[in-house]
Symmetry: C2
Subunit: 201 residues, 2 copies
DNA sequence: CAGATCCTGTACCGATCGGTACAGTAACGC
DNA sequence: GCGTTACTGTACCGATCGGTACAGGATCTG
C-alpha cells in the first residue's frame, strides 16, 4: 500500500536487500541531506554499482519515499494501538508520546530524514505523505478534544494544544538518541507531565 | 561580527542590495531547499546575472550563513532584552516566547531555512552557528533553573523542560504564518499557559 | 574631460548530477 | 544441459552543478 515498487516477480531476498539499502541510505541522507547526497555516494555506502542500486530503488525519490513511509507506517500503527487500548485521554496521550518517542529512538536517521527532507517529495508521493501526516496530527488533536469533552482537560484551543504537544515530541529527533542520556520512556513520561500538569509549582 | 563579507570599500547601497538579495534568496531556499536550489535559480529570482550576484554574496554558503545570522542576531537580541527587562521566571519565559514567535512570523522564510538547512553550514560557519544556537538554548534552560531555585517552578530536570519549551516554540515555524489564523502574541500566551500550568483540569 | 572604481552580463570551466542501456554472469527450474 | 530469469558492473548520456575570468558599461571623483 505504502509501497510504490512492487514485489511481484522478484527473487526471494529482493525485499530484504531493499530494506537493507533503505536503512543504510537513511543514514547517508541524514548525514548529507537528500539533495546534498549523490547517487554515487549511495552506491559506495551500499557497496553496490549504479545498476544494482537502481535495480532495488527505482529512483532516488522513491528511496526517500520508502524511508518516510517506513516511519509513517510505524507512527500510524502506534496511533491504532493507542486508540485500541482505550483509557482516559491523559493515559492515551501518555501512551502515544511513548510510542512516538520510541520510534524516534529506534529510527533516528529515518526520522531525521522524514522531518528534514519531506519537502523534496513531489506529486502523489507528496500528497500521500501529507495525508498520513495529517492523520497523525488529527489523532492527537482528537485525543485532546475528547479530553476536554470529558472534562478531563481544561477548555483550550485543541488545535493549538495539539500543535504544542506535537512540537515538544517532534523536536526530540534532534537530541534523543539511542544509548543517550535519557530513555524514550523517561522523556515521554516527563513530557506528559509537563503537558498535562505544567511546570509551575 | 556575524558578517563574513566586509562592507569596506563598497558603494553606498551595496549593503542594502545585499540585504535585499538575502531576503529574496531566503524565500527561494525555503521553497526548494539549499542544495536543491541552483545558482541560476537565485539569479533569476534576484533578477541578476551570475557576476552581479557573486559580487554581493561571495559564495552560496556565505549566502546561507547570512540568512541564519540574520535570524540568530534577532533571537539573541531578544534574549538580551528579556534578561534586561527582569521579572519573575514565568514572566521572562512568557516574554521570551513572545519575542521568539514574533521573529518566526516576521521572518518565516529565514527561520525555515535556518531550521532546515543549518547542517549545510561547514567549518567556522558551522561552529559559529552552533555556538549561538547553544547560547539561546542555554538561556532558556537558565531561566528555568532560576525559576526552580526561586521555588516558582516545581523541581524538574531543567534541561528536559527547556527542550520541551524549545520544541513547542521551534515547531511553530511550520504553521505560524503572518496573516494566519493566530497572532504570535496569542500563540505565545497560550504556549506559556500550557508550559506553566499544563492542560489538565 | 580624464581616470579610477563599482558594478554587471557573457562565456566558460571541470566536475558532478540523476538516470539509462546493455552486456555479461550467476542461479534456478526443468 | 538448456533456457530463463534475476542480478550487477561499466560505459555513457545530456543537463546542471558552483564558481571564475573578464571585458565593457555605468557612475563617481577630481
Amino acid at each position: 500500500m505504502a509501497e510504490t515498487a512492487t514485489t511481484a516477480g522478484r527473487g526471494a531476498n529482493w525485499e530484504a536487500r531493499r530494506l537493507a539499502i533503505i536503512d543504510t541510505s537513511a543514514g547517508v541522507f541524514a548525514q548529507g541531506g537528500y539533495h546534498g547526497t549523490g547517487i554515487a555516494e549511495l552506491c559506495e555506502a551500499n557497496e553496490l554499482g549504479k545498476g544494482a542500486l537502481y535495480h532495488y530503488i527505482g529512483s532516488k525519490e522513491e528511496l526517500l519515499a520508502a524511508i518516510t513511509d517506513l516511519v509513517m507506517d510505524e507512527v500510524l500503527a502506534g496511533v491504532d494501538r493507542v486508540i485500541a487500548a482505550g483509557g482516559s485521554a491523559a493515559e492515551r496521550l501518555r501512551a502515544l508520546g511513548a510510542e512516538y518517542l520510541d520510534i524516534v529512538v529506534r529510527y533516528p536517521d529515518h526520522v531525521w530524514v522524514l522531518l528534514h527532507e519531506f519537502p523534496a517529495l513531489t506529486g502523489d508521493r507528496a500528497t500521500d505523505f501529507h495525508k498520513r501526516r495529517h492523520a497523525f496530527e488529527s489523532a492527537v488533536e482528537q485525543l485532546i478534544r475528547e479530553g476536554i469533552a470529558a472534562r478531563e482537560l481544561r477548555k483550550t484551543d485543541p488545535r493549538l494544544a495539539a500543535l504544542s504537544w506535537l512540537g515538544m515530541h517532534n523536536h526530540a529527533y534532534l537530541w534523543l538518541k539511542p544509548g543517550g542520556r535519557w530513555s524514550a520512556k523517561h522523556v515521554a513520561a516527563e513530557f506528559a507531565r509537563i503537558f498535562l500538569d505544567g511546570t509551575s509549582r
